[in-house]
C-alpha cells in the first residue's frame, strides 16, 4: 500500500517543519514548497493527496496557487487546506469560493490540524 502524501507550502521554514512533524504523525509522507510556484511545479510532477497552504508568500501567493491548482487539477484533487494568519471572514469566504476544502487560522496545533484534515476528508474520525 503506497503512503499518503501531503505537500506543505509556507515561506517560513519554522512553520513548514512544525507542520511536517504533525502531518507525518497522521501517517502522511510530507514534502515541502516555499511558495506557490514551487508548489505548482511539485504538483505537476506528482499530485499529492493533500496540500497545506499558506496565503502570504513571495513569488506566488496561496490564493493564486489555489486558483491555478483548481483550474489545472479539478475541484477535488488535491484536497487543499489553507493555513494562514489571515483570519478575516472575507478571506475565508474568498478561499472557499476558490475551492479550498478547509481553513486553518494560525496559530495552529496538532489537534486543530487533525480536526481540519478530518473535515477535509483526509482522516477518519477517531472512534
Amino acid at each position: 500500500m503506497s503512503q499518503r502524501t501531503c505537500l506543505v507550502v509556507d515561506d517560513s521554514t519554522v512553520v513548514r517543519k512544525a507542520a511536517r512533524r504533525i502531518i507525518e504523525g497522521f501517517g502522511f509522507r510530507v514534502s515541502e514548497a516555499k511558495d506557490g510556484q514551487e508548489a505548482l511545479d511539485a504538483c505537476r510532477s506528482a499530485l499529492p493527496e493533500a496540500v497545506l497552504l499558506d496565503w502570504n508568500m513571495p513569488v506566488m501567493d496561496g490564493i493564486t496557487f489555489l486558483r491555478a491548482a483548481r483550474a489545472e487539477f479539478g475541484p477535488d484533487q488535491p484536497r487543499i487546506v489553507l493555513c494562514t494568519t489571515e483570519a478575516e471572514l472575507s478571506k475565508i469566504l474568498e478561499a472557499l469560493s476558490a475551492g479550498a476544502q478547509e481553513y486553518v487560522m494560525k496559530p495552529f496545533d496538532a489537534d486543530i490540524l487533525r480536526d481540519k484534515f478530518t473535515q477535509a476528508g483526509l482522516l477518519e474520525e477517531a472512534a
Partner: protein
C-alpha cells in the same frame, strides 16, 4: 495539606457534585484552588477546609466545587453521535404530533459547544425536519460555563476544534478575534443551572439526552443513579448519547446500546430484556 483536610474537601465535592477526587488529586486541588486561596488570603488548603467546616460557607463551597469541574468541550465532539443525530431527527420529527417541538437536553453542557452543535445539526437538515422546532436545554453546575454558553462567543482556537469551516462562516459572526453564534441558533437553546445529583424530573421529558463526558467523574453507584433517572425522562423512541469512555453496562438495565451504534443508548424494551 493534612489527609484529614483532603478527605474533608473530597467528601464535600463528592456530596455536592458526585465528582470523585482520588488521593492522587492533591496537586490538582492546589492548582485549581490556588487563585481562590490567594483572593481570600488563606494560608493553604487546611485553612480552606477549616473555613468550609464553619457555618455560612455555602457560597465558598459552591465555588470550590465549580473550580474542580473539568470543562473541556468542543464542537461536534467525537463526530459519530452527531451523524446519528442527523438520521434520528427526521424520524422523530415525523413521529411527533404537529407543532410539538423535539426536546433535547445537553446535560453537563459546559461552554455550550454540544448544544450549539445540536442546533447546527438541525439547521443543516432544513426541510428534512418539515419545519419542526427544537427545544434545546443546556445545563451544568458551573455558573461560569453557563454564562459563557449563554453569551455564545468562542475563541479562534475553540471554533477550529470540531467545527467545519463551512459551518463557521454560516452560523457565526466574527467579532475581532472571536466568533459569536448566530441569533437563530441561540434562540433554540435555553440555559439553566442544574446539578445531576438532584431529581431531574422537574426538567420534564426529553426526546434526546446528551450526557457526555461527565459520568467519568462519578463513582459506579452515582453513575447508576444518574443513568436510571435519565432513562425515566426519556421518550420511548428517544435516545441517550454517552461519551466515548462511558457505558450503561453493569450500571443500569433501563438503557441498552442501540444495535450497531457506539455511544447511543435506548430505553430497554420487554423484548430486549428477554433477548
Amino acid at each position: 495539606m493534612t489527609p484529614d483536610s483532603f478527605n474533608f474537601l473530597a467528601g464535600l465535592v463528592k456530596a455536592r457534585s458526585g465528582i470523585v477526587l482520588t488521593a492522587d488529586k492533591g496537586y490538582m486541588l492546589e492548582t485549581r484552588l490556588g487563585p481562590m486561596l490567594r483572593r481570600e488570603s488563606m494560608q493553604g488548603l487546611d485553612a480552606l477546609a477549616q473555613r468550609l467546616r464553619a457555618p455560612r460557607a455555602e457560597a465558598l463551597a459552591a465555588e470550590v466545587v465549580e473550580a474542580l469541574t473539568t470543562n473541556e468541550s468542543s464542537f461536534f465532539r467525537d463526530g459519530k453521535p452527531f451523524e446519528h443525530l442527523k438520521k434520528l431527527l427526521p424520524k422523530l420529527a415525523a413521529a411527533r404530533p404537529p407543532g410539538q417541538p423535539i426536546r433535547v437536553w445537553s446535560a453537563a453542557c459546559s461552554s455550550g459547544q454540544e448544544a450549539y452543535s445540536i442546533a447546527m445539526t438541525a439547521a443543516e437538515l432544513g426541510p428534512a425536519l418539515g419545519g419542526r422546532k427544537l427545544d434545546i436545554l443546556g445545563t451544568d453546575i458551573s455558573r461560569e460555563m453557563l454564562d459563557r454558553a449563554q453569551e455564545g462567543v468562542f475563541t479562534q482556537f475553540e471554533v477550529q476544534r470540531g467545527l467545519p469551516v463551512t459551518m463557521l462562516v454560516k452560523h457565526f459572526k466574527q467579532e475581532g478575534q472571536r466568533w459569536r453564534v448566530a441569533p437563530e441558533l441561540r434562540a433554540q437553546v435555553r440555559w439553566q443551572f442544574f446539578n445531576l445529583m438532584e431529581d431531574p424530573r422537574t426538567l420534564g421529558r426529553f426526546d434526546i439526552i446528551f450526557c457526555r463526558n461527565v459520568l467519568i467523574y462519578f463513582d459506579a453507584p452515582t453513575k447508576s443513579r444518574v443513568l436510571g433517572s435519565l432513562a425515566g425522562m426519556l421518550a420511548p423512541d428517544g435516545v441517550v448519547y454517552l461519551g466515548g469512555a462511558e457505558t450503561v453496562l453493569g450500571l443500569t438495565e433501563r438503557l441498552v446500546p442501540a444495535p450497531g451504534e457506539r455511544g447511543v443508548y435506548e430505553p430497554a424494551r420487554a423484548t430486549a430484556k428477554a433477548g
